[in-house]
């Protein structure tokens, strides 16, 4: 039998640890663990994560898959909640409560620097309130110029983006600088119940309603104006999203006929491609993370407390020999 070197032309590298490269197909011997390893592109997949302590829908999210933040929303059989939960990659624990309980709000930022804005507060009043999270408690920020719900959020606590929503022409954008909101460029397609991703100067929105069956429309923001991007493969609204303008993830939502879907799509900056579906179809859910490590939680689904974690991209596989 030919040796590896005879076939490939080089011997397998001996490394006291993992390879510093992530080139697909790289093979090496990890002398620290005595395991042959190779880099491969893993098939995208969802898995279940820790359940939310309380079932919640119409909530908002921020952060990453291993440091996520869920806040606000609506508990089954109850009205608006001000609850905040922090995710560590396996379980949710309670954080500081929002000052204003609300649902259909939007979020941005990280677990230790989160931003909540808009939504429907007690009594059904449309909110323009903004709150900033520091990892343990929320404090009031500057109010949005236009109160609205079912909007999309993106960006960071000091460079946030609020887009569209169920108010006026449903095209308005506002930009946050850490203390106050100013007007940005209007969306080309009016909508609400859309999803957002990216940052203030490279934002992305996709999906939404009307019409009842949802939109495929995607738009990209450059900090000043919106331009059309590639259309979603599945028209939908009440979906969630995460990631960046050039590497975004869309998941869940509702399609024609009021049917919830588990569809996942990946955006590369110009077009969407279908990826692995979630285990459970759901709408009005929360989302956080990146295109290669996404997080879906809550929503209109069973007990409304289920979490799912998405992974894709390069990974390392070990081969144990005896």
């Amino acid at each position: 039998m030919a040796t590896y070197k005879e076939v490939i032309g080089t011997a397998i590298t001996n490394i006291a640890g993992d390879s510093p490269t992530t080139v697909n197909g790289d093979v090496w011997y990890n002398s620290s663990t005595s395991i042959f390893k190779f880099n491969t592109v893993l098939t995208a997949a969802w898995s279940t994560g820790g359940n939310l302590p309380t079932g919640t829908q119409e909530l908002a999210g921020a952060g990453t898959q291993t440091a996520g933040l869920a806040f606000g929303g609506e508990n089954p059989g109850a009205d608006q909640t001000n609850a905040t939960y922090e995710y560590n990659g396996s379980a949710w624990t309670g954080g500081g409560n929002l000052t204003t309980a609300r649902y259909q709000l939007a979020g941005a930022g990280t677990q230790t620097a989160g931003l909540a804005f808009g939504g429907v507060a007690s009594g059904g009043s449309r909110s323009n309130a903004t709150e900033e999270y520091n990892g343990s408690s929320w404090t009031n920020g500057g109010n949005m110029g236009t109160a609205r719900e079912r909007l999309a959020g993106a960006g960071t606590q000091t460079a946030g983006l609020a887009v569209a929503g169920d108010v006026g022409p449903k095209q308005q954008t506002e930009e946050y600088n850490g203390s106050s909101w100013t007007s940005g460029g209007n969306l080309g397609t009016a909508r609400y119940w859309l999803a957002g991703a990216g940052i203030q100067t490279a934002g992305l929105v996709f999906g939404g309603a009307p019409p009842t069956g949802g939109l495929t429309a995607t738009e990209e923001y450059n900090g000043t104006s919106w331009t059309n991007g590639g259309a979603l493969g599945t028209a939908r609204y009440k979906l969630a999203g995460c990631g960046l303008q050039t590497a975004a993830l869309a998941f869940g939502g509702i399609v024609t006929g009021g049917v919830k879907v588990a569809n996942t799509e990946l955006y590369d900056g110009s077009s969407w491609t279908a990826s692995a579906a979630m285990g459970t179809a759901r709408s009005i859910l929360g989302g956080a993370g990146t295109q290669t490590a996404g997080l879906a939680f809550g929503g209109s689904i069973g007990d409304k407390n289920q979490t799912e974690e998405f992974i894709s991209g390069a990974g390392t596989v070990g081969i144990t020999t005896t």
């Binding site: 009021g258 579906a277 179809a281």
Partner: protein, 99 residues
């Protein structure tokens, strides 16, 4: 006898580890109301997963009955909403399970 495409079980999703990424790569899951899970029939990986989660296997008709109870309850709750609330939400759709 008709060839079955799917099988059904009831299992409570306990969270982390209930469905792992490798499960998801091998099995097409569909979570349904009432803790009902649809997975491929005649599939070794799906059978192993049902065992792992201590799922109770159900026939399609039994699973449909469980789902119907949950969907009907959700539809009744929606029907009881005010017109304004209905305008802001979507009536839960019927779910028809496949053999």
């Amino acid at each position: 006898m008709a060839h079955k495409t799917y099988q059904y079980c009831v299992a409570e999703n306990w969270g982390k580890g209930f469905i792992e990424h490798n499960d998801s790569r091998k099995i097409a899951f569909s979570g349904l109301p009432g803790n009902v899970w649809q997975v491929p029939a005649h599939n070794k990986d799906a059978n192993l997963w049902i065992s792992k989660v201590l799922g109770t296997v159900k026939t399609k008709d039994e699973a449909q009955a469980i789902v119907d109870v949950e969907v009907t309850a959700a539809q009744n709750s929606w029907d009881a909403l005010s017109d304004e609330q209905k305008a802001n939400s979507t009536r839960p759709a019927d779910i028809i399970l496949e053999e």
